[in-house]
Symmetry: C2
Subunit: 230 residues, 2 copies
DNA sequence: CGATGTGTTGATGTGCGTCAATAGAAGTGG
DNA sequence: CCACTTCTATTGACGCACATCAACACATCG
């Protein structure tokens, strides 16, 4: 259980908290493995817990009077759901069911809300964490609509290295296709952009280690061009 | 001042609050008009207020040791900024200056934090509002990367009408190019998609009034095709 | 050593943005 | 009330950025 908390701590909702606080809040949380299609709660149920997804995926849906279901949201590992309802203290407005086999952290409402109500500072830190994530997402949306793939990739490299270094080394921790997907490009395009930047002498690539040879020129390239293929 | 609160209430941060609560929180807030390029706060200043943008735009930036400035974020009307720092009770990590002439609501930290700390329920409702917005943004990002322009437009129309109506009337309140931009498409493309849907007999368009003739088929079209021009 | 998975590179297609022209709609002023 | 401007919306022609499809290089592993 404790080993899961690192993952939970990365959720925007909890990212602002100190580890001790997280521990107190999750004192009564429990790990729960569910099978694909297993139901978690139904529309109209009293909201007595919310969830963090450790692995797998979950879908939220409604049923129309005709009986066909409308998917409201698909949730993936790392996301929380149900929290808004819990904070407002009502009933779930949707059904929830596992989409694939999944492992969840189930966080009961009772103590959680009580602790937060009593400890305003903690609530404020949660607000801080979630609002930082909000700003980041707003930026992502902007980048997706206003920038080219090249600019987003360059921007990613730029923000991976200290603000005022002339050059730097970036190590990609995960698979490149994961990074590509986070930037909203296909893996092939990501690879091509890196190749272009390498040919321009702005970076050098060795596996998952990327060396930025000239940050300033990289920034310049992003800002004025970001153009496609050479 | 009071007439501004309606706009403020739409900010994700405040959307979960009751009007009375908002009024209490903003008791010491004040309206502030600033000229383009006017500075709001500097990096390292103690965070004593945060801001809601009524109109105009603001930029957050840092200064590198070499003196050139790196823009961290561009903020537009309807957004708040500085709140995360205020919640954490520290110093601003960035400079802020008006990008154009702007009108802001300046919300002083002191009472705000005190009220929230004392009233846990209010903090929870703020958390609820902001986390709903978070989910919405995550969906937007997904739609931008996974769906075509046609699918996003169709999705927009679908979510504008009650979940299980066979047909419905949608009235676009603002200019179409605003809607288009929210969906991440150009106004021309938006217009073309509407034309396509009209030609398919799924909707009929009269100015800003759109009649959805067959919601089910519209949903079907979005889910299987969303293809470009005929 | 075959098998599987990840990354690179090439050839080709297309969704949608860009540019441009036109038609309405809406406001302005005499 | 009608010219005149101004702004939004629509439609067409064209091009490009990026996805798609496909082949291949290179690693890791049983």
């Amino acid at each position: 259980m404790h080993e899961d908390w690192e993952a939970v701590h990365k959720a925007p909702l909890f990212s602002g908290l100190f580890p001790e606080e997280l521990e107190r809040l999750l004192a009564h949380a429990r790990r729960r493995a569910v099978k694909a299609h297993e139901a978690l709660f139904a529309e109209g149920d009293k909201a007595e817990a919310f969830y963090f997804i450790l692995s797998g995926s979950v879908r939220l849906y409604r049923l129309s009077p005709q009986g066909d279901e409308k998917v409201i949201e698909i949730l993936m590992a790392g996301q929380t759901f149900g929290e808004a309802v819990v904070f407002l203290g009502g009933r779930y407005p949707v059904y929830a069911a596992a989409l694939s086999d999944a492992v969840l952290i189930e966080i009961p409402t009772g103590d959680f809300v009580r602790i937060l109500k009593a400890n305003g500072g903690m609530a404020l830190r949660m607000l801080a964490g979630i609002s930082m994530r909000l700003h980041q997402l707003i930026n992502d949306v902007q980048a997706l609509t206003l920038e080219t793939a090249g600019q987003r990739v360059a921007g990613y490299l730029i923000e991976q290295c200290p603000a005022d270094a002339k050059s730097a080394d970036v190590h990609i921790q995960v698979h490149k296709n994961v990074v590509a997907s986070r930037l909203g490009v296909k893996a092939e395009t990501f690879s091509r952009v890196l190749a272009t930047l390498r040919d321009l002498g702005l970076i050098s690539v060795a596996g998952n280690d990327i060396h930025i040879t000239d940050r300033a020129r990289l920034v310049k390239w992003r800002d004025e061009a970001g153009a496609g293929r050479p």
